[in-house]
Amino acid sequence: MSLVQLRDLQKTYKTGRLEFEALKGVDLDIEEGQLVAIVGASGSGKSTMLNMITGIDRPTRGSVTIAGDRIDQMKEDRLAAWRGANVGIVFQFFQLFPTLTALENVMLPMDFLRRGSVAERKKRARERLELVGLGDKVDNLPSELSGGQQQRVAIARALVNEPKVLIGDEPTGNLDSKTEAAMFELFDELNKQGKTVIYVTHSQALAEKARHKVELVDGQLVRA
């Protein structure tokens, strides 16, 4: 069975009297260990599809099965715990918690899952920060880090619970080209180590680097 399995996925947003169909019956399978780029024009439904895979949004119709779990049927708290354990998400705007240091930000997903002792969590978070090249910034607050550094903390945070899949929503959208390249290298390296990586991007260059490409046009899959 595929790691990610989307069936007849449909999502309609309602804003006042307006309705917008972001996904129009999408079927998609992503196998474990793949490096997948989701591309498409603005409003094509890329981020919506990503939100379905991470379970941060629910489909209007259809099913989302990740590693055998029907996440569209899970209750909110169970889904949150599932997400913390199975999915690591990296956002365009980093979304670090400003009152926590880099180390504390990375420890947070483990705190929520109550994984190991505090000392173990600290050790593991430190390892992840070293992995993304920020071993010397563990006690820095987000306000004391550059954009690229903040994004690397976000990646360390996404990886800390050993998720089955790493997901990036325009992960380099707010970075310069040099940092973007370094970031992709990190994704590529993680993928080579066996991690499934899925990301949405506007960047043609970044899309071309993926080993699989999924393209959406007006909420429909045109290439998978």
Binding site: A81, Q92, F93, Q95, P98, P109, F112, L141, S143, E144
Partner: protein
């Protein structure tokens, strides 16, 4: 509607709950200002009544004096007299349906020709012969319920029962007041009074004057006294003349005090709402940083942006003030009408005090705009670049000493750590929340301690009085007791000692105070502590008493009000005129609010021309047991009755309990103020937390994205709320002490009383419990909102 105005309006409807909270708070504050209308409305209603009843300017009470037509005409022709009316009053006991009640009969010579203090017939017929009108206050104050056709029975001095038929209902502003004291009032004829009392003549002479200047009125009192003493059987007035300034009415002062109390409440509400409004506007501006930047990017000047947000705040002010002013009109009128109905027994018409309405509206809008100014000026500082680039979770935390300090708190769960640190992210908002909580804690602590101080003073006021019973003759000068009666009372079973006392009213400058005539070796007053230890001077000597020396001991508060010092000679105006006294003692007792004069019994008797008469006896019983005191009270009453006196017995422990209960009512009002302040603060706290949650919606989404469950989100925000409340409590403790000092100082200035300075630790503990529990209660709904938020919606939230 211009696009800009539309935007301002839409900004309010974007966060409906927050807008409603803010508007409710403003409306409550403005409604509070509307309460200022109650006093002028009440005054207006009463003045209309006084005009209709032709209220007297001066009234004198005399022992029943028959006056001829010529004498009445002469009184009407005295210098400065406008109109004059005589009345005859008689205090009686009536029987009705097996019950016995105290009653005041007021005899009116001619109902069709009343020039002063008119008794109005509200229903039924004018009484003739042995007929009466029942005062409408009898039923309103639950004294007696009677209607036309009913009857009451009154015993005359010979023991004969007189049946009086009720012909209808009457009212009189002054006399109706007696019904509030539990005395039934009936209006009847002079014939009925004569038949029941066996005496003829008038007891009340009331006058309206041409010149109502205080000096002119005082002079007219003397002229009336001189005429009566020279031409009738009158030796002296029975009591001080009742001199009324134009527009004065009983209860106006206490009513104004209650209203001032309400005004304090209103200002407290407004003060607290300032924080809430400031918070709201700050949040609106924060939320719209990108929009402000966008407006500037497409050509809006700083002034345009400023005006847009000014319009938003003015709209909040207008809507809140409008609702508040409307509520204020309704509440003020309802309170005033209820007060008039309950206190004076008349239906005041619905009335609006427009100046107060105008002031409420102006203050309401003004306060909102003023509180919004810091937020409005923030809009000027929003830079286009920074504003447009603001996305996602802001990372502006960490540069300050406080942020670093909070980061050093360790050893607690991560979300608790985050909650504590979050408290310093919006510093302005947090400070205002802390101040609000501190204000509430301070007010609660001060009110509780102040209440304790007040009750303590009341208890101490009665502690100094060592009598158990005070028997006073009915207010009838024809029924005097002599000092010899004391020996007879002392022989009653259960009585340990009895001593005569004369209590009357005296005036010093414009202040009316009770003047007590005590025997020199009194057992009724324990002045060791209040006079000899904490006061100044001494008690009078047996020699001074024997020779009726004009020496007095005055209350400490009175001495401060009138600048009296030990050794001074003061002039006291009594029913018989002015007399001079030497001050030999200043007593620190709280009795009569510290405003009393004590003098030798013999001196008071001489001044009042009373011979050896006394108008009361202090009795000490031989038991502390309340049931035994009650039994002795009944026996003393029976003994006095057997001696032919209509006596009232005041039981000290009952009076003390009643007074404490009355003051507890005042304390309850204090606590009510605290409660309202706490309520507003809790609304403010809830609003702050709602705003914090709205501000951090993206963060909540992100927390959910990385595995946070509802309980984690709940714990994070409740930690933040509790932490702010705790800090508020800490700040509130010294604030409470300060407010206590203000309270004590206010007592010292307003009442000239040194209130016990209290700061009970128990209230410190309770205030912490209330602050924490209150916070947990008010954050329930914001927390539910936070935990119910779907991560997708939260992350998309802008």
């Amino acid at each position: 509607m211009s696009a800009l105005l539309k935007k301002s309006w839409k900004d309010l409807s974007r966060r409906k709950a927050r807008t409603i909270f803010t508007i409710i708070t403003v409306a409550l504050g403005v409604m509070g200002i509307g309460l200022f209308a109650i006093t002028p409305l009440a005054d207006r209603a009463v003045q209309a009544e006084l005009r209709a009843e032709k209220m007297h300017n001066i009234g004198v009470r005399v022992t029943a004096v028959p006056l001829t037509v010529e004498q009445l005409d002469a009184l009407k022709s005295l210098d400065n007299v406008g109109q004059m009316s005589p009345q005859a009053e008689l205090l009686v006991t009536i029987e009705i349906g097996g019950r016995r009640e105290r009653a005041l009969l007021v005899g009116i010579p001619n109902y069709a020709d009343q020039a002063v203090d008119v008794v109005r017939v509200t229903s039924g017929e004018v009484p003739r012969g042995m007929q009466v009108l029942t005062d409408q206050g009898n039923e309103a104050n639950a004294v007696i319920s009677l209607s036309a056709g009913d009857g009451i029975t009154v015993q005359d001095p010979t023991g004969t029962a007189n049946r009086l038929l009720v012909t209808g209902v009457g009212k009189n502003f002054l006399h109706s007041g007696a019904t509030r004291g539990g005395v039934a009032v009936f209006y009847t004829t002079l014939d009925a009074i004569e038949q029941i009392s066996g005496r003829t003549g008038f007891t009340n002479l009331t006058f309206t004057l041409q010149d109502t200047d205080p000096d002119a009125m005082a002079k007219t009192v003397e002229v009336v006294r001189d005429y009566l003493v020279a031409n009738t059987s009158v030796v002296a007035f029975d009591t001080l003349a009742d001199v009324r300034e134009e527009g004065f009415w009983e209860g106006r002062e206490i009513f104004s005090q209650i209203m001032n109390f309400m005004a304090i409440l209103a200002f407290m509400i407004l003060f607290v709402s300032l924080f809430l409004i400031a918070n709201t506007m700050n949040t609106i501006v924060s939320e719209q940083t990108r929009e402000i930047a966008m407006m500037k990017a497409i050509g809006a000047t700083r002034g345009t942006v400023f005006r847009s947000f000014l319009t938003t705040s003015a709209l909040i002010g207008l809507i809140g003030a409008g609702i508040g002013a409307g509520l204020g009109i309704l509440v003020a009128s309802q309170v005033e009408r209820a007060f008039m109905d309950q206190s004076f027994g008349f239906d005041a018409a619905f009335d609006v005090h427009w100046p107060t309405v105008a002031i409420s509206l102006a203050v309401g809008v003004g306060v909102v705009v003023l509180a919004s100014l810091p937020a409005l000026f923030r809009t000027l500082r929003v830079s286009v670049v920074a504003g447009l680039e603001s996305h996602g979770i802001s990372s502006d935390y960490g540069p300050t000493f406080l942020d670093r300090g909070l980061m050093s708190i360790r050893g607690v769960p991560r979300v608790v750590q985050m909650g504590i640190r979050n408290a310093s992210r919006r510093k302005g908002r947090s400070i205002s929340t802390i101040l609000q909580v501190a204000f509430a804690v301070g007010v609660v602590i001060a009110m509780l301690n102040g209440g304790d101080g007040l009750i303590d003073m009341t208890v101490r006021a009665y502690d100094v009085q060592t009598w158990d019973l005070w028997a006073t003759v009915a207010d009838d000068p024809s029924d005097p007791m002599t000092v010899d009666t004391a020996a007879l009372i002392a022989g009653v079973d259960g009585v340990r000692a009895a001593e005569p006392v004369n209590r009357t009213s005296a005036q010093i400058n414009d202040r009316t105070v009770p003047l007590y005539g005590y025997v020199q070796d009194t057992h009724a007053l324990d002045f060791d502590k209040t006079l000899l230890e904490n006061g100044q001077g001494r008690w009078w000597t047996p020699e001074e008493a024997k020779t009726a020396k004009h020496v007095v001991v005055v209350g400490d508060a009175l001495s401060r009000f009138e600048n009296i010092e030990l050794g001074d000679t003061i002039e006291l105006m009594t029913a018989t005129g002015a007399s001079k006294f030497k001050v030999i003692g200043i007593d620190a007792a709280f009795t009569e609010n510290g405003q009393f004069v004590h003098a030798p019994l013999e001196t008071v008797q001489a001044v009042l021309h009373k011979g050896a008469a006394a108008n009361g006896f202090f009795v000490q019983t031989d038991s502390r047991d309340h049931r035994k005191i009650d039994a002795t009270s009944r026996r003393v009453s029976d003994e006095l009755k057997a001696l032919g006196h209509r006596a009232d017995i005041t039981v000290n422990y009952v009076a003390a309990e009643q007074n404490v209960a009355k003051n507890k009512t005042i304390v309850s009002m204090f606590l009510m103020v605290s409660f309202v302040v706490v309520l507003i603060v809790l609304i403010g706290l809830m609003s702050t937390l709602v705003m914090n949650i709205l501000d951090r919606t993206t963060e909540i989404g992100m927390l959910r994205c990385i595995g946070a469950q509802s309980k984690d989100v709940r714990r994070l925000f409740s930690t933040e709320g509790l932490f702010l409340a705790f800090l508020g409590w800490i700040v509130g403790l010294p604030l409470g002490y300060l407010v206590c000092q203000v309270y004590v100082a206010a007592f010292a200035v307003g009442m000239k009383l040194t209130m016990p300075n209290k700061y009970a630790l128990i209230y410190v503990g309770w205030s912490l419990v209330f602050a924490m529990v209150g916070t947990l209660i008010v954050i329930f709904f914001p927390l539910r909102r936070a935990t119910n938020m779907k991560p997708g919606d939260a992350i998309r939230y802008e």
